[in-house]
């Protein structure tokens, strides 16, 4: 097993230590630490950001008391969640009940491991990363179904079934959009997809393919919102009807894991969006040499996170602006609108790339 991206510490161990095979273990530990740092480190930031965005959209201030503008509020909440008692209600299937949050947390970490956050900031460089992500996405749905079923609560089960139907439906369009990206860029590796967008801003896939790129981007945002189970597609945890849906019965750390999953998924989806359509870690060059020099001076990691947070901001605005349709409306939206549109998009994309109608 080799890692696509070399790292200094692993190489040093391999070169100079008496046991070169230790490098593999060191590399694995480094990879796990990196993914955990991105995932768990950004979750409190995202929760704080969501609260502030939501508050300002609704003419409120949000958390203000703990620390400067309530910056410590999330840390306090997370600490509270960690020290709460974890218990299960009567009659639940204990193994499945405790397995579900762990499975749900596995999926986004898998995706994070595949994502290149910068030139040298990637855990695994998979040649077939996009199909792998499609496969991993199913795991999140699996966790929701297990959690809802194991809770021994009819509303949780209802929510799990609903979100199962929703996510399976939207996964088709999600895969179609990803196929579209694979088709126009000619590769399934995330690094290759980024490499095809090198150049100025106009070389990003959102602009490079006239009109189609933008349509595909809008559809990607729409479908990934459904995959994330966020409003306006948050049928899994429709507060008014199902209290909290599949995680109603979970407390303490188990609930925190579901909560964390939601936000790490958000990062993963935004990272995919920025890789597919916004050029990944590449700087938004404008074609003027003096400006480009400054833009190139900023490392790719910063650009990647700037794009990720921009997309996350968009997701948050969606969530706090639009209302949730009924489940049947969502299903007809997918089957009668999104799926035909994505098929048409796929056909037109093939035509555009074949005829060379690319900017």
């Amino acid at each position: 097993m080799t890692f696509g991206i070399p790292n200094l510490i692993g190489d040093l161990v391999r070169e100079y230590s008496p046991w070169p095979w230790l490098a593999l273990g060191v590399n694995v530990i480094l990879a796990v630490t990196a993914v955990l740092a991105v995932g768990i480190g950004s979750a409190p930031i995202l929760i704080y950001m969501e609260r502030k965005v939501c508050a300002h959209v609704q003419c409120r201030l949000g958390p203000m008391r703990l620390g400067w503008h309530g910056i410590l509020q999330t840390i306090a909440d997370v600490t509270k969640l960690l020290f709460k008692e974890v218990y299960s209600p009567k009659g639940v299937d204990k193994i499945v009940y405790y397995l579900a949050p762990m499975i749900s947390l596995t999926a986004p970490f898998f995706t994070l491991a595949l994502i290149p956050f910068g030139e040298q900031w990637q855990v695994i460089n998979l040649e077939f990363a996009v199909p792998a992500i499609i496969a991993i996405n199913g795991l999140g749905l699996f966790a929701i179904l297990l959690g809802g079923w194991a809770s021994n609560n009819k509303y949780s089960l209802l929510s799990a079934l609903r979100s199962g139907a929703l996510m399976i439906s939207y996964e088709i369009s999600f895969a179609m959009i990803m196929l579209f990206v694979i088709m126009i860029s000619g590769s399934a590796s995330l690094n290759e997809i980024i490499a095809t967008q090198s150049g100025t801003v106009l070389d990003w896939w959102i602009f490079k393919l006239p009109v189609l790129g933008f349509v595909a981007f809008v559809m990607f945002m729409c479908v990934s919102t459904a995959e994330l189970n966020r409003a306006p597609f948050d049928i899994a945890e429709a507060e008014q009807e199902l209290t909290a849906g599949f995680h109603t019965e979970y407390t303490g750390t188990a609930f925190a894991m579901f909560y964390l999953t939601e936000y790490i998924n958000l990062i993963a989806a935004s990272a995919l969006g920025s890789i597919f359509f916004l050029g990944g870690w590449q700087a938004p060059l404008v074609g003027i040499e003096s400006v480009d020099k400054i833009l190139l001076g900023i490392p790719g990691l910063v650009w990647m996170f700037a794009k990720i947070y921009f997309l996350i901001f968009l997701y948050m605005m969606f969530r706090w602006t639009w209302l949730r349709p009924r489940i049947d409306q969502l299903m007809s939206f997918e089957w009668k609108f999104l799926l035909p549109l994505s098929l048409i998009l796929l056909g037109l994309g093939a035509l555009f790339t074949a005829m060379g109608w690319v900017l």
Binding site: V53, A55, H56, V57, Q58, C59, R60, L61, M64, M317, W320, T321, W322, K336, F337
Partner: protein
């Protein structure tokens, strides 16, 4: 309208209405002046209640500490929960004047009927709201400052 044209109508008008909603929320997001939250204990000094806020009932006094109440008792009759007792006396000329305007804040619901019904406009709702107290007697108030005036 046929089903097909309805479908395409929705395809066009749907995104437009979504964008309309986004424009409203984005306007709110980038305009901090629209925030209505009051940072209450911190902004105690500058906090100003709204014009129509209803705190406790207050008898309007002018600079000479004089009020215009005639002890007619209409507010007492209009009070739905008997929070008001207007006790009248007679002055030296034998005219009926206000003796004591008794007001019980603990049973008052701040409905404002007394203010509405006062024919002389001598009542108003005060703007103070920090009225909680551990002493029950402090809720029984005499609103007029001078006795037998008028």
């Amino acid at each position: 309208m046929t089903a097909i044209s309805k479908y395409f109508h929705a395809v066009v008008t749907g995104p437009v209405s979504l964008l309309k909603g986004m424009s409203v929320t984005l306007r709110y997001f980038f305009n901090p002046k629209k925030i209505v939250t009051e940072q209450y204990p911190e902004n105690k000094a500058t906090l100003k209640m709204h014009e129509r806020f209803r705190g406790r009932v207050e008898l309007i006094h002018n600079e000479q500490n004089l009020h215009t109440c005639t002890a007619c008792g209409i507010c007492e009759k209009n009070c739905p929960n008997n929070s008001i007792n207007v006790l009248s006396t007679k002055n030296i000329a034998g005219k009926k004047v206000l003796g004591k305007y008794l007001y019980r804040l603990d049973s008052c619901t701040q409905c404002g009927f007394c203010v509405e019904s006062c024919p002389f406009g001598c009542l108003r709702m005060a703007h103070d709201f920090e009225r909680s107290s551990a002493d029950k007697q402090s809720f029984n108030m005499t609103l007029n400052k001078t006795e037998g005036q008028g």
